[in-house]
Symmetry: C2
Subunit: 354 residues, 2 copies
């Protein structure tokens, strides 16, 4: 099925109209009409081959929300008309320890990521079948890798939950953040703004640490209890030992040691951004038996749990809805940090253009 | 009470005979005749002022084993003739959250370390009263900071448990190492050799990672199940994802990322050595939701637990017993890694010399 899309033809080229072939759903597959697709900063990194190994032409997009158009004849869980989502991966090996534990994001054979990766044939990654993401009008996905979007979340504002939502929900949940915990969110961007909303919904006392004063009002509006400007280095001594948990969403390089000093004894700081390698002083961890950890999206089961949690707590992303024709300008604005807090593509605009 | 000792008179000077004044035990204090004192690498760092802020003259030594000579009139737990130990600290504030939790090593006002620190007056650190350590024939210590050496551990081989023992026992226990866990001990020195013995006694499957082949036989003799030479870099790919837990005892700089790659998903690597700041790649933690943590000795309660554990499992340190007159040569040998695995000073040699 010829399907309108937008693709990066090469690392240095802007995104432009493109056509992808989508397959008729197999016995266990679902064909989805895409309504909205969020724009993740990793779309830019990959479309510009900043991490290396990119596959071109590339149709980015892994924050997909749509409606089931058609299901394979063995599919019982999904019906045409269901409102569904697809996140950062569309398949995995299904038999490794991680997959069996419902932690498909750590599949030992590697996930089939939603774009810039490969579909599977007979369970194995098939390098003749690249994946194409959500900057397109439809996608065919295995029924087990589809999420249900609960009623009550506006669909455009639900899309970023599929990556930014689960990336922040999973570490908060996995590392045991509880009501009353004092947590800090470092950086108030696409990830950080979701972290604030979700942590508040969990009942935590949330402090935003941001480089500049400019986001103070937003932080409060999003639900933060406190806001600290890290440009003022006295913050790190004045608030030493204050937090039970720190979620560090910054991708630019910064001094982990300074932030580790803000943790109480036995506190944990979790990285979800990927700065360049950063020096860690052993004393930053030894003094207070602290932990520096990382977290990567979440499995299918936990992603569904996150969506249900967000629906129950009225949590959704703050977005700017754009037609796909503005995607290259949106990328430029994101690089400048000029988005509050996630661009979401209205895929109807693509249908018209194609 | 004038007490024979050995002291470093200044940062650049060798240790030499010295006399310290020990007080008569107060109501809640215990006077200990010191029999043995282990030699920790941190004795060298501090005697040479390599960490800065050293207090001279300095009598090092925080792996102290001896016999109670006299107790204060309010002491009920200890009697003359009891075999006891003193570890890395002799007092703490006693009222902060850490002290109340029995984690005095993280005292928010700072421990009174056994040497190169200060006694307390009215609960506060008193900078007019430096502490002097175990390179001496006796010491007066508060009853609450004294450990019981259980019967069955040779006293000279018990001394290093007070620092090297608890430094390795505490993270193994705190981070939940259990029978059957696959653990790695990085570095086979004073700390590493205790880690192997204690982890084996806990029932773990223990692999030693060492830079060179030379310690393979020792590792096996100490109880290790496997031995990997890290000079061969293929070790890091061949054994990727193998370990549940890594205890990293190395103080020389090394690549944390390489070792983090050896952890399974959700595994933890704990630093007990203090190399120079070392770059950490966020991907090393994010890929597998891994944790890099630190640990610092242990509290009094846990140190007693460790001593009882070692006695129950027949665990003691492998030592070279020396007269104190050889301390400067011992330091030189330790710097070259030429000790298997801990020098212990026979304090009787000091009595004779004084």
């Amino acid at each position: 099925m010829k399907t309108p899309a937008y693709a990066a033809p090469a690392a240095k080229a802007p995104l432009a109209p493109f056509t992808v072939e989508r397959r008729e759903p197999g016995a266990h597959e679902v064909l989805i009409d895409i309504k909205y697709c969020g724009v993740c900063h990793s779309d830019i990194h990959q479309a510009r081959d900043e991490w290396g190994g990119s596959i071109f032409p590339m149709v980015p997009g892994h924050e997909i929300v749509g409606v089931v158009a058609k299901v394979g004849n063995a599919v019982s869980r999904w019906n045409a008309g269901d409102v569904v989502g697809v996140g950062c991966f569309v398949d995995s090996c299904r038999h490794c320890e991680a997959c069996r534990a419902g932690e498909e994001q750590f599949c030992s054979e590697g996930m089939s990521v939603t774009y810039n990766g490969y579909e599977r044939s007979g369970g194995k990654l098939d390098r003749s079948r690249p994946t194409y993401g959500g900057y397109s009008t439809r996608i065919t996905v295995d029924e087990n890798y589809v999420l249900r979007i609960p009623a009550g979340i506006p669909l455009d504002r639900a899309a970023p939950l599929l990556c930014a939502g689960i990336t922040t929900y999973s570490p908060l949940r996995h590392f045991g953040v509880e009501a009353g915990d004092k947590i800090a969110v470092v950086g108030l961007g696409g990830l950080g703004h979701m972290a604030v909303k979700i942590a508040k919904a969990m009942g935590a006392h949330v402090t935003v640490l941001s480089h500049s004063e400019s986001k103070r009002d937003d932080a409060r509006r999003l639900g933060a209890d406190d806001f600290l400007v890290t440009k003022d280095e006295t913050v790190f001594t004045q608030h030493a030992g204050r937090f039970d948990f720190i979620l560090d969403t910054i991708s630019a390089q910064h001094d982990y040691n300074a932030y580790l000093g803000l943790l109480r004894r036995d506190g944990t700081m979790v990285l979800v951004g990927v700065p360049d390698p950063t020096p860690v002083h052993a004393f930053s961890l030894i003094g207070g038996r602290k932990r520096l950890a990382g977290s990567l999206i979440g499995g299918i089961r936990e992603t569904q749990e996150m969506l249900d949690f967000c629906a129950a707590h009225g949590v959704a992303s703050d977005i700017e809805l754009i037609p796909i024709q503005q995607i290259n300008q949106a990328y430029e604005r994101m690089i400048k940090g000029d988005v509050r807090y996630r661009f979401v593509i209205d895929i109807a605009s693509l249908g018209k253009a194609a």
